[in-house]
Amino acid sequence: MAAIDVNRRVLPGFGLSLGYTLFYMGLVVMVPMVAGFLKAADLSLGEFWDAVSSERAVAAYTLTVGASLVSALVNVVLGSLVAWVLVRYEFPLKGLLDSLVDFPFALPTAVAGLVFSALFVENGWYGRFLVPLGIEGAYSRLGIVLVLVFIGFPFVVRTLQPVIEGLQRDVEEAAACLGASRLQTVVRVTLPAVLPAIVTGFALAFARSLGEYGSVVFISGNMPFRTEIAPVLIVARLEEFAYAEAAAIAVVLLAISFTTLFAINLLERWMARHHA
């Protein structure tokens, strides 16, 4: 304990900085969260159940979770490819490509939604080729997945990149020396080493997609039962001034997000133990 307290004895501002941190977090984050839960508690248990289990609400959760899952899986494939190429190969304009990976993080979601809906409508740049083939990217469930792929894209790449960089090449060489083919080496040696990072990236992209609103609202068309995600339903309930019902759905959405994050934590710990 003595070593731990050295900084506190020497450096100033411990009370002030910690106090302000707690105060600000309490004011900006905790108070609104508590208010939300209290409002949801305004409803009796039966009313709460009705609000969160209506057919429309269940359709919205299912779509939110389903679209997030599919888009995160797509991102695992695309993100692994891009991360591998960025770390292992040399080619012109690689630096530019690497910087652009973060573009979906930096671009406001409303802009992403606007552009994607314009690209996939009938006379859009992608739509004019896809719509004749019967692929409707705008105002459809596919559109939701597409824009969520864009939003979640950096997560898999950025969690995977440092792990691939840290792989020891001589392990792959050793596998090759022992007679493994390239495919065997990748599947048996490389893949197990990067799997935790892939799972983490997947989960982060999934968690991010669950709450996404700004981009989806432009491209989905927001039709109840078909293309209405949970955050859109919350806004719809708000516009009907059904505050408690909105809060009830929000609580369910939060529960799904928190469970996801908890699962990520457990998974990471489990994997760390099994790799040690």
Partner: protein, 297 residues
């Protein structure tokens, strides 16, 4: 079966074959072009579809759009300032001291990233709205938070508040406290310590934190959407204006506003890349200096 004495064979076995290499590079470039490149170009082409004059008019001659630009230029800095003060305090507490609950607090800082922005807006509405917990009191004292400027700032601050702290904490942890302890032992006091030692040491991380949190703040949609009330010319920020113009089928106007935010995103990325490049060079120079020092001994 395998002739391990042949170096070419061996090389082939631990490098990807050339055709895989080419196919992968092509695939990755294709993904990036389709997912990022084309949308980026599309924003500007759509915005300038009717020529630069119309673009200019869409941005500055539409009073509601112009007001949304001004409003965003006020809301974002206010939220960034709040997060900056918080980020410095949180980083100082977490990176410099050990205390019970430190890990939990660090995890708690990330909380806003996991809450849907719409839910954030809803919770603020439940707190400060007409039927909210403080609704009556606020109305009695004629204070407007929701559907007004303060609500926009609080919603933006909630959604973006981990950004600065998350940039600073790892940098300050990596730097260690030696310099600061030395400064204190030489007689530096609170603000002197901050201004002379800590801030110069973390300036790049701080700058990036500010720029990133500004980009997020200017682009925030979901939370602001709920608390703004969409009063055109009063509480519409730029992202909300994009949505409204989109709903009114005014696509050139919508894309004009979007192009400004896309430029902001590009500038943010540019600064990030430049700062990364700079830190890498400083790191390399540091290593060289250390090598010289060690060699001299």
């Amino acid at each position: 079966m395998h002739d391990t004495s042949n170096p070419v064979r061996l090389l082939r076995a631990h490098e990807d074959p050339p055709w895989v290499r080419r196919a992968f590079i092509l695939g990755a470039v294709g993904v990036m072009v389709a997912l990022v490149g084309v949308p980026l170009v599309n924003v500007f082409i759509e915005a300038f579809a009717d020529g630069p004059r119309v673009y200019w008019e869409n941005l500055f001659h539409d009073p509601d759009t112009f007001h949304s630009i001004l409003l965003t230029l006020m809301v974002a800095p206010a939220a960034v300032f709040l997060n900056l003060v918080f980020g410095l305090a949180a980083a100082w507490a977490i990176a410099r001291f050990r205390f019970p609950g430190r890990t939990f607090l660090t995890a708690l800082i990330d909380l806003p990233f996991t809450v849907s922005p719409v839910v954030v807006g809803l919770f603020l509405l439940l707190l400060f709205g007409r039927q909210g917990f403080f609704g009556e009191w606020l109305q009695a004292h004629d204070i407007k938070i929701v559907f007004a400027f303060p609500g926009l700032v609080i919603a933006t601050a909630f959604v973006t508040f981990p950004v600065v702290a998350r940039e600073l904490i790892p940098v300050m942890e990596a730097l260690g406290a030696e310099e600061e302890i030395a400064a204190v032992s030489l007689g530096a006091r609170g603000w002197q310590l901050l201004r002379r030692i800590t801030l110069p040491n973390i300036k790049w991380a701080l700058l990036y934190g500010i720029i990133l949190s500004n980009a997020r703040a200017m682009g925030e949609f979901g939370a602001v959407f709920v608390v703004s009330g969409h009063i055109a010319g009063k509480t519409d920020t730029m992202p909300l204006r994009i949505e409204k113009l989109f709903q009114e089928y005014n696509l050139p106007g919508s894309f004009a506003v979007a192009s400004v935010l896309a430029m902001l995103a590009l500038v943010t990325l540019g600064v990030k890349t430049a700062l990364e490049w700079k830190t890498r060079r400083e790191l390399a120079e540091g290593k060289k200096l250390r090598a010289v020092a060690v060699g001299g001994e």
